[in-house]
Amino acid sequence: MLNMLWASMILLGVIFAACTGRMSEVTNAALDSAGEAISLCITMAGVMALWMGLMEIASKAGLIEKMTRGIGPFLSFLFPRIPKNHPARGYIATNIIANVLGLGWACTPAGLKGMEELANLERERGNIGYQDKKETAFKGGTAERTASNEMCTFLILNISSLQLIPVNMIAYRSQYGSANPACIIAPAIAATFVSTLVAVAYCKVKDRKGVILDSRQS
């Protein structure tokens, strides 16, 4: 996806410049942008190092683990049908906390493990798409996997963004001379709250409407 997007941006830019006679501007822009990316990384390196350093302390002190346990009731509300002791719960909790704290590196691996566990949960529930290949062929069902309600909720929640402190944005803002780079924290929290609230409401409504279709048919 990104390959197509990147290539079409470059190609479109050059073709458009050829049409409007702005080739020299494009030359400068290409060279300047590359240099600018590096100076941006230098500003960002400071902010990221500070944040990750703090988070390392938080994680060593057991603060993150504590928070993960603390959101238990919230998880039960969002995913009422995941059994209490299922491994999916732990991964989802870690993913959510990492999301809230803006720990990108911790959130994707936990998220992916969470999805795998949710797939296992579907197998345990007897959803036909998730069984072993041979068994499916024997039953004559389709092997296509349909997302469970839990998967939909988990994904929508992730996309709605839960991050409290937009560390990257603050770094970018300070690089481009903002008078108060951190002034977006409060509005960002408010906006994140709105988008997450809409996401949760939508998921709850959809979740109530019915559980996955395929397992019923089989």
């Binding site: 470059i10 410049a17 290409a30 944040w51 350093g53 703090l54 709105v194």
Partner: protein
């Protein structure tokens, strides 16, 4: 507005104080641990460096070609009707596919309009309240080998829309 700025000002010092204090009380070697984390943070930045170069060059080329002005003029009726700065629409579209490509556009908006301008504020808040839709979906569903995604896309787009509306409203209110 005043409350928002006040809150934004105190959050970071509070987090720093709380985390370091909590670490000290729980007997963590705070400074050494901080250094280790900071090192990891630098690694993250080095990892995204090539991406950033590639994408900033692409956006730079596209901008220098005059394409964005063209797009802005062309889309002006739509964006003006909803009070969206004209630069935001391309950002919204690109953000559906890739957050790093969107970052290139964000930096471009900061450079041309300034991070504290109306467009800059909308951008800052917008980028903080939603994630990329198609990228996240493809990676996560790939992990579970799911092909039928049911209502995920609708929900994700709805959340993004809510975040966008909130960003515009909040930026208006802040300025």
């Amino acid at each position: 507005m005043a409350i928002m700025t006040r809150m934004s000002d105190i959050i970071i010092p509070i987090i720093i104080f709380f985390v370091v204090g909590y670490g000290m009380v729980s007997g963590v070697k705070t400074y050494e641990t901080f250094l280790k984390g900071a090192k990891d943070g630098l690694k993250v930045v080095i990892d995204i460096m090539p991406t950033l170069i590639g994408l900033m060059v692409a956006v730079g080329v596209l901008r220098a070609s005059g394409f964005f002005e063209f797009l802005g003029v062309w889309l002006a009726p739509v964006t003006e009707a909803v009070g969206l700065p004209s630069q935001i629409l391309p950002l919204l579209i690109v953000k559906l596919f890739s957050s790093s490509a969107a970052t290139g556009l964000v930096l471009d908006i900061f450079k041309t309009n300034g991070p504290d301008s109306y467009a800059g504020m909308v951008t800052s808040i917008l980028m903080s309240c939603t994630e990329t839709v198609f990228y996240t979906m493809s990676v996560y569903f790939l992990a579970a080998k799911v092909t039928k995604t049911r209502y995920t896309l609708t929900g994700a787009l709805l959340a993004t829309l809510a975040g966008t509306v909130a960003s515009v409203a909040l930026a208006r209110w802040m300025l």
